[in-house]
Amino acid sequence: MISLTHFLIISAALFCIGLYMVITKSNAIQVLIGIELILNAAILNLVAFGRYDKLNNNGQTFAIFAIVLAAATTAVALAIILNVYRKYKTIEPDKIDQLKD
C-alpha cells in the first residue's frame, strides 16, 4: 500500500507546475493547459482520499464529476479563445487590452 503522503506531495508538485505555467506563459492555450494541470492535482487528491471510503465512494464520485467539469470548462474556454483570435488576431493574454469594440 502506498501511503497518502506520497500522493499528496505529487499532487502539490503538479499544482505548483500548473501555477508556474499560468503565471508565465504568453499563450492562452498554454495557460489553459496549466489550469488543467491544477485541476488534475485536485482530482488526484480526491482519488487518493477516496480509497478510505469504500461504502459511500465519496472521493471517486466527485473525482468523476470534477473530470466532467474540467471537460466542460475546456470546451467553453477554447470557444472563447477562438473568438478572441478572430477579433484580435492574437491569443496572447497581455495583448488583449480593449474592453469596448
Binding site: L4, T5, C16, I17, L19, N57, Q60, V76, Y85
Partner: protein, 182 residues
C-alpha cells in the same frame, strides 16, 4: 521496496517529468503532446490509488476529448501563433520568469510542509475507516458500487452536472459560431 512501490515511483517520475517538460517547452505542439503523457501517467497513479474506474474515465475524457479539442483549437488558429511562440522560446527561463519560479517553489515548500505537519496517514477518520474495514483492497471491483452510489446517493449532483453539460454544449456552439453568418 516491493514491485508496487517501484512502479509507483516510476509512474510518479513520468508524470512529474512530463509535466515539467510541458512547463519548460516553448513550442505549443510539443507541450500539448507531452501533456498526453502527463495525463496517462496520472491515470496510472489513479490505478495505484485503487480507483480503476476513474482512471478509465480520465483516459476516455481527457485524452480522447480535451486533448483532441486543444489540438483542433490550434489547428483552427493561424500559423502565426506558432511562429510567435518559437521566437520567444529561445530563452527558456528568462530574467522575467524568475519571480514566478521563486513564487511557485515557495508555494510548493509551503504545501509540502503543511502536508508533512498534518500527517494525513494518521488522521482520525482514516484510522477509523481502516479499523472498520472501509478501505479498498487491491482485489475489489469498484465499478459496481460506484454505479449504484451514482444513481442513489449522488443523484442530485449527477443531474446538476447533466444540466450543466447541456448548457455548455449550447454555449460553446453559440460562441464558436461565425459572426453575421446566421
Amino acid at each position: 521496496m516491493n514491485l508496487t512501490t517501484i512502479l509507483f515511483y516510476v509512474m510518479a517520475f513520468i508524470t512529474l517529468g512530463s509535466a515539467l517538460f510541458v512547463a519548460y517547452s516553448g513550442s505549443l505542439v510539443r507541450s500539448v503532446f507531452m501533456f498526453f503523457i502527463t495525463l496517462f501517467g496520472l491515470a496510472g497513479l489513479y490505478v495505484f490509488a485503487l480507483a480503476d474506474f476513474v482512471a478509465i474515465t480520465q483516459i476516455v475524457i481527457y485524452v480522447g476529448g480535451i486533448l483532441v479539442l486543444i489540438l483542433f483549437a490550434f489547428m483552427l488558429s493561424n500559423k502565426e501563433t506558432l511562429s510567435t511562440l518559437k521566437r520567444e522560446s529561445s530563452i527558456f527561463i528568462g530574467f522575467k520568469n524568475w519571480p514566478s519560479l521563486i513564487l511557485s517553489m515557495l508555494f510548493f515548500v509551503v504545501i509540502v510542509s503543511v502536508i508533512l505537519k498534518a500527517m494525513p496517514d494518521k488522521l482520525i477518520w482514516i484510522s477509523q475507516a481502516v479499523k472498520a474495514g472501509d478501505t479498498f483492497k487491491p482485489t475489489d471491483t469498484t465499478a459496481n458500487n460506484l454505479g449504484i452510489n451514482l444513481m442513489t446517493r449522488y443523484l442530485l449532483p449527477f443531474e446538476a452536472i447533466s444540466i450543466l453539460l447541456l448548457m455548455v454544449l449550447v454555449g460553446a456552439a453559440h460562441l464558436s459560431r461565425k459572426e453575421g453568418g446566421q
